[in-house]
């Protein structure tokens, strides 16, 4: 077993870090306060090919391996969680089209999504349906070759600037996903502001009033909207949220190491106080553990191992939990300064809370991880029984 980055992954990490330092970090506070990201910066992301970067080169992506892809989320996420979220939602749409789109849909959208020429957003959440994706109330009624959509979607990340939405609705009671273009008749987009964290993520509410969508925009088949299309997209989204959470924890750690080295209380640097050391020790240990979980999930994803599903749930659950802990302690270590926008940890604190909610709340993760754990146990028992029988026969 070797747990280390390959030379190519190291080169990618350096590239992502330099890009972030030069182009993103200087604007992170402004994204938070103005509750938007600049169009110029989005153009830079597109030019760097960081949108759709995980897709194969054959369809226009960068062909990043899953570890490099995670590193991209970590580097950007350390500076600005709001902007990092654009990569998550856009890539979820790109993956859904890549995996489940018809030939016609892929021909129309995939190359443009892979190159970031159009921006995608994932439109599932509704006022009465968050973690319960099967509970969506938006309806899609097929009339001739057109779906007529009615309902609303809420808290749609980067919904304000997306060109196309991957939208989940019910068609004759069956979960159905459709690509909905922003200029579809009957669709209106309303900006949402005043969120607790990730305030630059340009959330929107989508209102669908007899919104007309061509039947050809169906992604997958009717009835497979959740089990195949949305879950495929959410699997990738969950992976990126794990890395984004790790990024927040790492940013908190680095901020605390700086602050505790330069600020004094009772005549001694904070770093010399044992209770400060305890919080920093926990931050170091938890961040290292989260990183290993992210690596493992990435490795399993890269090798298309079915165990990646459980491991991604675990990585997201753990990383988001420890990000919140790290951010809470970071504010504590910074004291009054930590409660001020003069220091970034108050932003990390607000952003970390969002990570415990999006792409499946921590409570949903707890239920799912336990369920998958029992499955793993059943598999292990079966394998042991088989091994025992085989050994008994050969003896």
């Amino acid at each position: 077993m070797r747990i280390e980055l390959s030379p190519e992954q190291e080169r990618n990490q350096v590239e992502f870090r330099l890009f972030t330092k030069e182009h993103i970090a200087p604007h992170a506070t402004a994204h938070d306060t103005t509750q938007r990201v600049s169009a110029e910066l989005v153009k830079r992301l597109v030019a760097a090919r960081y949108l759709g970067s995980f897709l194969p080169k054959s369809v226009g992506g960068l062909g990043l391996d899953m570890i490099s892809y995670g590193l991209l989320h970590e580097e950007i996420g350390k500076a600005c969680s709001s902007l990092r979220c654009l990569l998550t939602v856009h890539d979820m749409v790109a993956l859904a089209v890549y995996k489940w789109g018809s030939d016609r849909l892929r021909a129309k959208w995939l190359s443009r999504l892979a190159r970031g020429e159009v921006l995608g957003a994932f439109a599932v959440s509704e006022p009465n349906a968050g973690s319960d994706v099967n509970g969506v109330e938006t309806t899609a009624v097929l009339s001739d070759q057109t779906y007529v959509l009615n309902g609303s979607k809420k808290w749609i990340t980067f919904g304000q600037i997306a060109d196309v939405y991957l939208l989940l609705a019910k068609s004759e009671g069956k979960a159905t996903t459709l690509l909905v273009e922003k200029d579809s008749p009957g669709l209106s987009v309303r900006p949402l502001k005043g969120m607790l964290g990730m305030r630059g993520s340009m959330l929107a509410e989508l209102v669908l009033e007899d919104c007309l969508v061509p039947r050809a925009n169906l992604v997958g088949r009717e009835g497979f909207g959740v089990s195949s299309v949305a879950f495929t997209a959410l699997g990738l989204g969950r992976y990126t949220i794990a890395w984004g959470s790790l990024a927040i924890a790492q940013a908190c750690l680095e901020a605390c190491l700086r602050y505790a080295s330069t600020h004094k209380q009772f005549g001694a640097p904070l770093r010399d106080h044992q209770l400060i050391q305890r919080m920093i020790s926990e931050m170091i240990a938890n961040t290292a553990a989260a990183r290993l979980l992210c690596y493992e999930a990435g490795y399993l994803k890269e090798t298309n191992d079915p165990r990646e599903i459980l491991q991604t749930f675990v990585a997201k659950y753990f990383a988001s939990t420890i990000a919140m802990k790290a951010a809470t302690d970071a504010v504590q270590i910074h004291g009054a300064n930590g409660c001020s926008s003069d220091y970034p940890v108050e932003r990390y604190f607000r952003d970390a809370k969002i990570m415990e909610i999006i792409e499946g709340s921590s409570q949903i993760q707890e239920i799912t991880i336990a369920k998958l754990g029992f499955q793993e146990h059943a598999r292990n028992v079966l394998e042991e029984e088989t091994l025992y029988r085989e050994n008994a026969v050969s003896a």
Binding site: K99, G220, F224, S227, S228, F231, D305, E308, A378, R379
Partner: protein
């Protein structure tokens, strides 16, 4: 084919009791299928039998029993060989 059915049965046994399950029993009608199971089934089939499942394959008839899945695997792998 029997080996394929055996592999499917073993995979199923991680999720529900299979001792009474017949090859033709509809696992959807029996209430054994949820979204998580469906996602794991797709990932497992692609990894185990080395083919890609796409939108054209999304038909309940391909996945609703051991027999159906076995037939689906046979069609997909023969297509893969032809290509």
């Amino acid at each position: 084919m029997d080996d394929t059915k055996g592999k499917i049965r073993t995979f199923f046994s991680r999720f529900f009791r299979t001792s009474e399950l017949k090859d033709a029993d509809d696992i959807f009608a029996l209430g054994f299928v949820n979204s998580l199971f469906a996602m794991q089934l797709v990932t497992w089939l692609e990894k185990e039998f080395l083919f890609t499942i796409n939108d054209e394959d999304l038909d309940i008839q391909n996945f609703n029993s051991i027999e159906a899945i076995s037939g689906f695997i046979g069609r997909k792998t023969s297509t893969a060989v032809e290509v």
